[in-house]
Amino acid sequence: MTGAPLLSVEDLEKWFPVRTAGLFARQARLRALDGVSLTVGRGEVVGVVGESGSGKTTLGRAVLRLLAPNAGRILFGGVDITNLSRRAMRPIRPRMQLVFQDPFASLNPRMTVRNIVGAPLVVHRRGDAAERAAAITEALELVGLPRGAAERYPHEFSGGQRQRIGIARALILRPDFLVADEPVSALDVSIQAQVVNLLLELQAHLGLAILFIAHDLAVVGHISDRIAVMYLGRIVEVGPTREVLARPQHPYTEALFAAAPVPDPRRRGQRALLAGDIPSPIDPPSGCAFRTRCRYAQPACAAGRPALREISPGHVTACIRDDLLLGPSPRGAPS
């Protein structure tokens, strides 16, 4: 990557007001994003992984300005979009698009594929009727849908084909940035691979930058240039994909790898299990948020919130212990 990143997020915070339960109910803050900084370069694929409740979906929504952040900055193409009005966001919106997880819920069942895929052209008043028709045909071709798909309705398509429709809609305005939020996790295994391959082809063909949010580490490992690992609204590790997979630097990353099931019955059960659940983002642990589940935790981990420290160029971790030798995705290495 050269020059300034396409997307740059600095100390982003997003909290939701909640009332705690019980006798001493009080107003509290659910910290979905607790000081997140991340960049995505032009044409770069950055994978975001973490358990549910880690804030990865909130991050995707916030960088698209679908949620208003409470603090921090979002720079897109060098422009600070953190506090832009709806009107001022309008010319920027076509450049950033979203692919949703559930291809059954994200397509209007009463609209034809032509109208679904063409909707962004109408919203952004692009082209005349003929130009729109041509753009729709091109977008459907791009994602590998058959001719004739345009006049049909979503229910006539399988899950994988519906996800292609969602991708065509996201690409019709020719964005340079895509947020893909769990785009394959609702699909069958044999179809997941098709959609991952399609995203890779489109990414290379169109030079897209993608923020790829997923809980499946293996999928993220296949598609991403860099991986960011989130825990309780914070980024605990970021680095080039191969480095993060081969030399994870944060105990949480190591634990996530260890938990991922490996399709090899000979390596059954060789895992260090992570105990318990992710703590509540309303009352996160002091210091390092992961320390309550971390097998390497020391008293010092409770003291202060660990800053990201650089291990090698571009590879950072939020673990204060520099004496650990963590497993290189222990059960994932080739046998």
């Binding site: 399988s158 098709q194 991952v196 290379a204 296949h222 059960g269 299990l273 995705s329 290495a333």
Partner: protein
């Protein structure tokens, strides 16, 4: 490993057909399999493969005729002895004594399977009161022990908790506690970890394996995830469009899949490989999972199969052929394909 003792559950030529707009559609077609004490059979399939319908058919939880027709036999030999009974032929009252007692089930979504308006203690005690005639107090005491067994901290305090007060992983532990309350011979687990995070999934898989080691129950584990299969199964049954494509010991299946569908499914699983090149594509199976209302003729997989031969694979449904010890494969060309791969 299970020896020569007869299977706890023997399913013979199970078929399930539903009435649909376009006529009857076959969701499960002549399915046969067995499970023995202490054994875990994984049933693997994609959407529409009939894997969940199979589990519901075993539990007699499908809607009655004429909307749904079930045929075949499900022979169940309770571990305490006694003659085998065909579950499909049992009177409703007899089936109620088996369901939730000798054969228990855990579903995918613990939030929708638990009753939101009752504390979990009551829900665990219910099965014991119903099946064992236990008093409420004794059943609640048993519930404490069950919660402890499934690894829920402070079990006594938790009795009064409602499902919404628990995390997804804890709810699934409660579901497992309910399923285990009567010490079943067979546990049917239908995608029990699919809605959970990988970290919690790993905990639940380990819990199920521990519980099975303690009790010797047989487990039928239904999943779409081959990683999970590799983790827990002794034997595997691969379903596609309602038919068994392959049945094998877990090591045989992963080492040497014989059906092209199994091979394709294994190849499409993304691997966590730190040494693979970045942005490497996956090996996908082309095409789509077939619509059960419009199954392709012949082998249902042939339109997606790179080995399919016109005039053969699309003409008749291939038979399930024995292919070594405890192994079945349904593919007309499996011998040629295996020999071709060796040559």
């Amino acid at each position: 490993m299970p020896g020569s003792e007869p299977p706890l559950l023997a399913v013979e030529a199970l078929s399930v057909r539903f009435r649909a707009e376009s006529g009857m559609l076959t969701a499960v077609d002549q399915l046969s399999f067995e499970v023995r004490r202490g054994e875990t059979l994984a049933i693997v399939g994609e959407s529409g493969s009939g894997k969940s319908v199979t589990s519901l058919a075993l539990m007699r939880l499908l809607p009655p005729a004429p909307g749904c027709e079930v045929s075949g036999r499900v022979l169940f030999r309770p571990s305490g002895g006694g003659p085998p009974a065909d579950l499909l032929a049992l009177a409703p009252e007899g089936m109620r004594r088996v369901r939730g007692d000798r054969i228990a089930m855990v579903f995918q979504e613990p939030m929708t399977s638990l009753n939101p308006v009752h504390p979990i203690g009551e829900q665990i005690a219910e099965a014991l009161v119903h099946h064992r005639g236990a008093s409420r107090g004794a059943a609640l005491e048993a519930a404490v022990r069950l919660l402890e067994r499934v690894g829920i901290p402070e079990p006594r305090q938790r009795l009064a908790s409602y499902p919404h007060q628990l995390s997804g992983g804890m709810r699934q532990r409660v579901m497992i506690a309910i399923a285990l309350s009567c010490d079943p011979d067979v546990l049917i687990a239908d995608e029990p970890t699919t809605a959970l995070d990988v970290t919690i999934q790993a905990q639940i898989l380990e819990l199920l394996a521990d519980l099975q080691r303690q009790s010797g129950m047989a487990v039928i584990f239904i999943t779409h995830n081959l990683g999970v299969v590799a983790e827990i199964a002794d034997r595997v049954l691969v379903l596609y469009a309602g038919r068994a494509m392959e049945q094998a010991q877990v090591l045989d299946l992963f080492d040497r899949p014989l059906n092209p569908y199994t091979t394709g499914l294994l190849a499409s699983v993304p691997l966590l490989d730190p040494f693979a090149p970045v942005r490497q594509g996956l090996r996908a199976i082309p095409g789509n999972v077939p619509d059960p209302q419009r199954l392709p003729p012949g082998c249902a997989f042939h339109p997606r199969c790179t080995h399919a031969v016109a005039g053969r694979c699309d003409s008749a449904v291939p038979p399930a052929e024995p292919a070594g010890a405890g192994r079945l494969v349904r593919c007309l060309r499996w011998r040629e394909i295996v020999e071709g791969a060796l040559a």
